[in-house]
């Protein structure tokens, strides 16, 4: 019953209205005029540079040509071969960075979603301090990325950081002060920091989604004696499905492309365990001046993201249709 209400609203304005074009033949250019500024800026900032980037990926654009980059000789797909030759140093490093990024993305998206869902469900019903908590939870999201990550960088220092102070001095869990920004722990550091700033976004989206779930549905089922978990499984989760489809995709793309967190957290350190792929490509490009190879790596990354997104949308669409 409630589902139909939602889906009706869903389609409002999309299916009911006849196309405007036949009605106002003379004003056919009108929507294009409205779109022009957006198209223009998208072209200048996104599309043209992207095409240029693809072109660059077929060039031997090293420091010998950077001051006259149009003269860089074409090398066909050789940059791609180098990037994908996993037996050689460059490809191996890229592959490792890719693997790290995959693990990072899965963890961050999963935990952020779980935290966000838990908090949204808890704060759905009123209790004392609810609005204060909601405000608090949103602060890490509102904070500029670098401010939050710099704070974590300070906290994760070995000798002067708060984390080791908590673990070693306050809780006595370990005797030896671990390193968090170098070595294998760097992975867990970047995961925790990314979750810290990502989960409030999941919380925000889910909270917004929950507001459109009518209360009377819960009340009806509460009369039936349904437990909170059952309610969540059978009402909340299905109702949030459209939100979740978008939320998970957006989080996946943001997290996979995350540059700011490792850049601010590690600086020039670039520990192998925290070598996320955007950060890796940035360093490979700007520290070795091999812009052609860097562009090839970026194109590969884009292809991967397109592929995953395409599959994801196919699956979710098909399921939606079946449902």
């Amino acid at each position: 019953m409630a589902t139909t209400a939602v889906s009706e609203k869903d389609d409002a304005g999309q299916e009911q209205r006849p196309p405007a074009r036949p009605r106002r033949r003379s004003g056919w250019w009108w929507p294009y005029a409205l779109l022009a500024p957006a198209v223009l800026f998208e072209l200048v900032i996104h599309v043209v540079p992207m095409i240029t980037g693809v072109w660059m990926s077929t060039r031997q654009l090293t420091k010998f040509f950077i001051s006259n980059w149009t003269a860089a000789p074409g090398v066909g797909l050789r940059n791609y071969q180098v990037a994908l030759d996993f037996d050689a140093a460059v490809g191996e490093a890229l592959l490792r960075s890719f693997a790290v990024t995959c693990a990072f993305t899965v963890l961050v998206v999963l935990v952020s979603w779980t935290f966000g869902m838990a908090a949204a469900v808890v704060l759905q019903r009123s209790f004392r301090g609810r609005s204060g908590l909601r405000t608090l939870f949103l602060v890490p999201y509102a904070l500029p990325v670098y401010a939050g990550v710099l704070t974590w960088n300070f906290m994760l220092q070995r000798d002067t950081g708060a984390i080791n102070h908590i673990l070693v001095d306050n809780l006595g869990l370990i005797d030896d002060r671990p390193f968090w920004l170098i070595g294998s722990n760097a992975f867990w550091s970047v995961v925790v920091v990314a979750i810290w700033k990502m989960w409030p976004f999941a919380f925000l989206m889910l909270m917004a989604g929950l507001q459109s779930v009518p209360q009377d549905v819960y009340e009806a089922s509460a009369v039936d004696g349904a437990h909170a978990y059952r309610q969540w499984r059978s009402i909340t989760l299905p109702m949030l499905r459209p939100v979740n489809i978008v939320l998970v995709l957006v989080m996946f793309l943001w997290v996979f492309n995350d540059f700011n967190t490792p850049f601010v957290l590690f600086g020039t350190g670039q520990p192998a365990a925290g070598d996320l792929i955007s950060f890796h490509i940035y360093n490979a490009t700007f520290l070795t001046w091999n812009f052609g190879l860097g562009a090839a790596m970026s194109v590969l990354l884009l292809l991967f993201l397109l592929l995953v997104t395409g599959i994801y949308l196919l699956i979710t669409n098909r399921e939606s249709r079946r449902a």
């Binding site: 540079p49 608090l136 810290w196 601010v264 860097g294």
Partner: protein
């Protein structure tokens, strides 16, 4: 309706765990900003030995923070205004018109969300250079270049969300306005926009926060003259020392405007999400 014991226990766990996770870094930021340098260089302590506001005074002279602040403010505000204005027109077209290329447009705009920034960083740079050589308008090392770049970062989200929002506003409203003699734009400005206020506020907040926090492009497109906070804050780590207390003080100060703005308008933001993207 009352909550079961199980739910209450769950609530306590969630509130405590997530509350601590959220609060500890914020506390460290505030606490450390009130410590003298000798305190932040030694082992961490929860309480400052000497409470001092000196870092908040020194931070302005260690790096030209005021200038970076002004740059960030101008760049972010201009990018926000431009982005939202452009998005309003585009979203109105997408929501109210069926035209050839509509699908291509929405798909392209949305898919720019997945572009890895590093892919178009250097090409964009080169395009800006060509622009300057052709037209003599300086884009690199000026605020204008940053504004143009940043306004597009929030554009896809803004168009998508506003289009969703406009879809929720009955067409009868604009049609009534048209009957009353309004032009298309008149209908947009007098009827649709006022009704979409939460959506506009929401995308404005989003655009401002995006610009205020951007790091990657700022690292290449800024210099002494137009440096923004995201890059400027790194300068507290100097040849002599890492001024952690001043870093924390500066982080706090640069966060305050966006955090307060966001928190004040969070209701509109959530409302915007609800009727825009989330529906």
């Amino acid at each position: 309706m009352h909550d079961t014991t199980g739910f209450k226990a769950f609530r306590v766990v969630v509130v405590v765990v997530l509350g601590l996770f959220t609060v500890v870094p914020l506390y460290v930021m505030v606490g450390s900003s009130l410590k003298p340098l000798s305190d932040v260089r030694g082992a961490f302590t929860w309480w400052p030995t000497n409470l001092t506001v000196q870092p908040f005074i020194d931070m302005w002279s260690t790096v030209p923070l005021a200038r970076y602040f002004l740059n960030s403010l101008i760049v972010s505000s201009a990018a926000t205004i431009a982005s939202v204005a452009i998005a309003i027109f585009a979203a109105y077209a997408v929501s109210r018109h069926r035209f050839r290329g509509r699908g291509v447009f929405t798909t392209t705009v949305l898919s720019t969300q997945m572009f890895p920034g590093v892919l178009f960083l250097l090409p964009l740079f080169v395009i800006f250079v060509n622009f300057t050589q052709t037209f003599g308008v300086q884009l690199i090392g000026t605020r204008l270049g940053l504004i143009i770049t940043y306004l597009t970062f929030s554009l896809p989200f803004a168009i998508w969300m506003l289009a969703g929002y406009f879809d929720g506003i009955p067409r009868e409203l604009d049609e009534a306005a048209r009957v009353d003699g309004c032009s298309q734009l008149g209908a947009l400005f007098r009827v649709v926009l006022p009704a979409a206020r939460p959506g506009v506020i929401a995308v404005s907040i989003y655009a401002f926060m995006t610009a205020w926090g951007e790091v990657l492009f700022a690292s290449v497109l800024t210099n002494d003259a137009n440096r923004t906070l995201s890059i400027g804050l790194r300068e507290y780590s100097t040849q002599i020392n890492v001024y952690w207390n001043q870093v924390m003080a500066a982080s706090l100060v640069v966060s305050v405007p966006v955090v307060i703005g966001f928190l004040l308008l969070q209701k509109q933001f959530v409302a915007g999400l609800t009727s825009g993207s989330v529906k």
